[in-house]
Symmetry: D2
Subunit: 327 residues, 4 copies
């Protein structure tokens, strides 16, 4: 599969390197408004620099990986779909659910495959939890608990254009909740506050948030987010069911324990999301390639992207109105 | 300190034995409508059988431990207060907040010490978490997470008169949330369903519940309850703050690990609440005795009992109305 | 079962309290050269003070618990056996294997039950490891690893009369090795040094020791001892077999974890042997009573006491000569 | 740095890929008697196929990585040293200590850098233990414990030419013991047996082994090996010192725990040494390149290779003679 990579920033580099390392795959072209970045990534992966239009028009490019800024995603997905490219796009499709709906109509009309980059579904630990749930290990899932905390808040400039914590950060957890619940939430309650940094609150956002989702049959998911954790990038999930419980604990920097007069100390958890999810990014692209190659619809789909966004919108509304929002 | 113990059932036996084993304490009298039970417990602790009135009237009894059924608690607390006994009463004071308020007025007017049996505050692990929070180990508390699951549901007959999951089971967690947050919740959102046993739902109750509490300053507590856990009595707490995180994990039956072709297996968590909290019950009575002996107000107080009840009422209302309830 | 307790020191108090708490058992008499200690313990357990001879002669005493200094053990065991008392004796029988052999002849001739206090066999964790080995969980045992470290060294005065680390401290581990191997060792290699405190070396003893035992069929046990561990009383065992591995980890002060910029910290391991093995002491006496009551030979036996002593002697010789010692 | 890779088998592929991925490094040539293997690896890394002599003679090759069979190591090291190539050689230098000594004389005379592939020193966990020891975290090291068990035994044909368990398998642990002790062992005691497979015993080797090493100052290392572990590739180390203890636990397949009526189950440990030590192999070559580039002697050195071999020889002799061997 021959890829065009659009966006040569941090996440573009990750995907391009993973594509280049995949058997039977190559990066043909890299596009970025930053010429130097495009050139460097093209050289590193044996590709050429090209414009977005050239990538879309190229008959020797089968797939595109969209790693551009969020506000370009929907337009690029539509272009790629019309050009009949298999499309992998970083989350989110757009910050507006309305725009996502329009975009998915274009994709559907074009009949081109689309996968959204909810990378955590491909984490070795989280994927194993979901697979064992699907195998019936814990019977019926009843309560899902997701704890997700960043090591530290992003710059305020990023916060301002992020769409807010629910759409920018908890979006991953909404997707994970759906992945583990196996049912659509129909009610959302959301609380949040700016406890980490008052400036985040002054910018109209929150940095600490807890949300409950409930499905029609009564299953519940609780999601807990913070923009700051002193001990690293805290990423845990737990699913409680009729026959037992599955949980994926954090990944620590090492297995070393130091015991002394103070007690027993182990390392922090992996701090950087690119290290924490390095394997997930690899397996994600491999899953995209495997699905497209075998003619299956890649998953998570555009619809999954929309559903997560609707939950984020509902959470935002729930918190602002102080009411439970029904979907 | 010379105690009268009212109620010779399961929890009465625990408290009586712990009182008898405490340096400087003794059980003087035991009362129970079940004469045989009263006699057996009196013999085991070197006490005599007496009526409730006799206990209240006895000049050689300094304190009473109320271990009778819930619907007798408020009346007994009032009697004991009027008799100027130091009173330890099992939770809850009453299932009606109005009745609790009246009762606490009587206690206050009498000026007698009263402690409510929220035993989990005295668990070695949970107490350590609270003590380290108080010491500033994690800075400002921002998110509290409480996971509390019974090994299996009680009989339906018990459910019917229990006051419902929030007042019967989650009441402990409401108290724990207040204990760890260090601030009063002002908003409550609650979800629940009967997923463990439909008959519980038909009886008007739930067996699976998730609640969020938020304080005025924005701190959040999430509480997760189930009436059934395949792996034992699941009792965990976690507090996330500006400088770090504290958590108390479950207590397992042993430290043994068995590794084989299937992986690594450890024991279930302690299954029976009387075993899990054996030390907490001992330390609870010791704390009551220590407080009363030194003239300090015992804690948790009657007011703590009321506060937890108000949260349970709010959660019940929140779930029934599908709305966030403000306090 | 009516006990006479000989020795009212630290360990005598433990055993007496456990006997008194056992259904159907009582402490009838306490003997100690320290009159005050005897009197205090007698009062605490509802017993009377008596001389050793009176205890031996008393027709209303069925069993004796020997908690006197080591150099009195063998004489007292012989007296008790001749008096047809069921005898529980703290380890070791004697520091001389020759003396132990004589003593066991007397016991055998008298036909009285004798149990030696290797308390660790009754630890909930270690007992579970042995039980699962016996159930075949790990197939054939091949390698046993025992790590045993005291929180700190005893006074030099104690070291001087202790018989040396192998006979005083590692004696427990020799018994545990036999318990887990299920076969008698036939070869012993031993290394040791005074690394904790030079004065221990100057007193002719060691404080750091590693020993290997091998059985006829080739199974191996490795034992690691230190007189000092900064993080508490380190007590771990592991058994590796054809089908898997069993291990019992340390018991920590709590299950609390504190996570911060430094990493994740848990509590030290229980520091004091009387706390670490509180349950083992209870179960040990209960096992003695159960065996004697049902007419079975209590275990561990006097022979077990002798075998452990012979291994200690062999280890001592192996270290001093720098040679492997065959048994 | 431009490398010639000699040997295109399993380990040759690992090193070649790691060299190719290192900034500023490339594989120039690959040699192997198996032409097809050489060609495939050359293509995968952008190198050409060449003979060993051509590699040695090439002026555009700075370094060689020797990944050929053990019996070729010493000859190849000598050739490379005479050709003034920086040399990385897989362990062991040779199965004969005498041959190693000769070889190291040639290397010394040539003045060319040589590093031996004791990969475990570069494992993230083990390296951290050693670094913290070096930083004084646990004070003086007193006892080192190394547990090393393969998932399953190699083919008998491999056993026959392996040099025996001590030289083939425990050689890594001898190096690790020296790495952690920071002192040379002067006495060796060794036990072993063929408990996993009798055929291994009939072939004159053992599959289960425990060894003690002691240094002049009295520090002790215990090493425990088995050729089979039902639960995966068991790789653990522990160091006990005057101020505390450091240990590196196993690396598991995931962090997932499944709790049910049976207890709590986690995954096996990583089963395949190439996965378990993938990072160690990367860091090992990077350390070689960094040392050579900066003109420092790479470590572990040829002398380290010799020392480990002498300990293996001593252990073999100790076990065969049933005596402690002094070095």
């Amino acid at each position: 599969m021959r890829f065009g990579v659009i966006g040569a920033g941090r996440i573009g580099k990750i995907h391009a390197a993973n594509i280049a390392a995949l058997e039977g795959c190559e990066v043909r072209a890299v596009a970025d408004v930053d010429e130097a970045a495009a050139k460097a990534l093209a050289e590193a992966t044996g590709a050429k620099v090209a414009s977005i239009d050239a990538i879309m028009a190229a008959s020797d490019i089968d797939a595109v990986a969209i790693c551009a800024p969020t506000d370009m995603h929907a337009d690029l997905i539509e272009k790629a779909a019309r050009a009949k490219k298999a499309t992998f796009c970083e989350k989110p499709v757009d910050l507006s659910a309305e725009r996502i709906r329009e975009c998915l109509k274009v994709v559907q009309a074009a009949g081109a495959p689309l996968m959204i980059g909810f990378n955590r579904r491909f984490d070795r630990n989280f994927a194993a939890v979901q697979a064992r749930i699907a195998d019936g290990a814990i019977g019926q899932v009843e309560i899902v608990q997701i704890t997700s905390r960043d090591p530290g808040p992003p710059p305020l400039s990023y916060i301002a254009r992020s769409g807010g914590l629910y759409r920018d950060m908890m979006i991953h957890d909404f997707d994970m909740a759906r992945f583990l619940l196996g049912e659509e939430p129909v009610a959302v309650s959301a609380f949040g506050a700016a406890l980490v940094d008052k400036a985040i609150g002054e910018a109209g956002d929150i940095d600490t948030a807890v949300v409950i989702l409930q499905t029609q049959s009564g299953k519940v998911a609780e999601i807990s987010n913070s923009r700051r954790a002193a001990y690293g990038y805290d990423q845990r999930i737990e699913a409680h069911g009729s026959k037992g419980m599955l949980r994926a604990e954090n990944v620590h920097e090492s297995t070393v324990q130091f015991a002394g007069a103070h007690g027993f100390t182990g390392d922090k958890v992996l701090n950087f999301f690119l290290e924490r999810y390095a394997g997930a990014y690899r397996d994600e692209i491999a899953a995209f390639v495997a699905a497209v190659s075998s003619g299956k619809a890649p998953s998570p789909s555009g619809e999954d992207g929309l559903r997560a966004q609707l939950l984020a919108d509902a959470a935002d509304q729930a918190r602002r109105t102080g009411q439970v929002v029904k979907l």
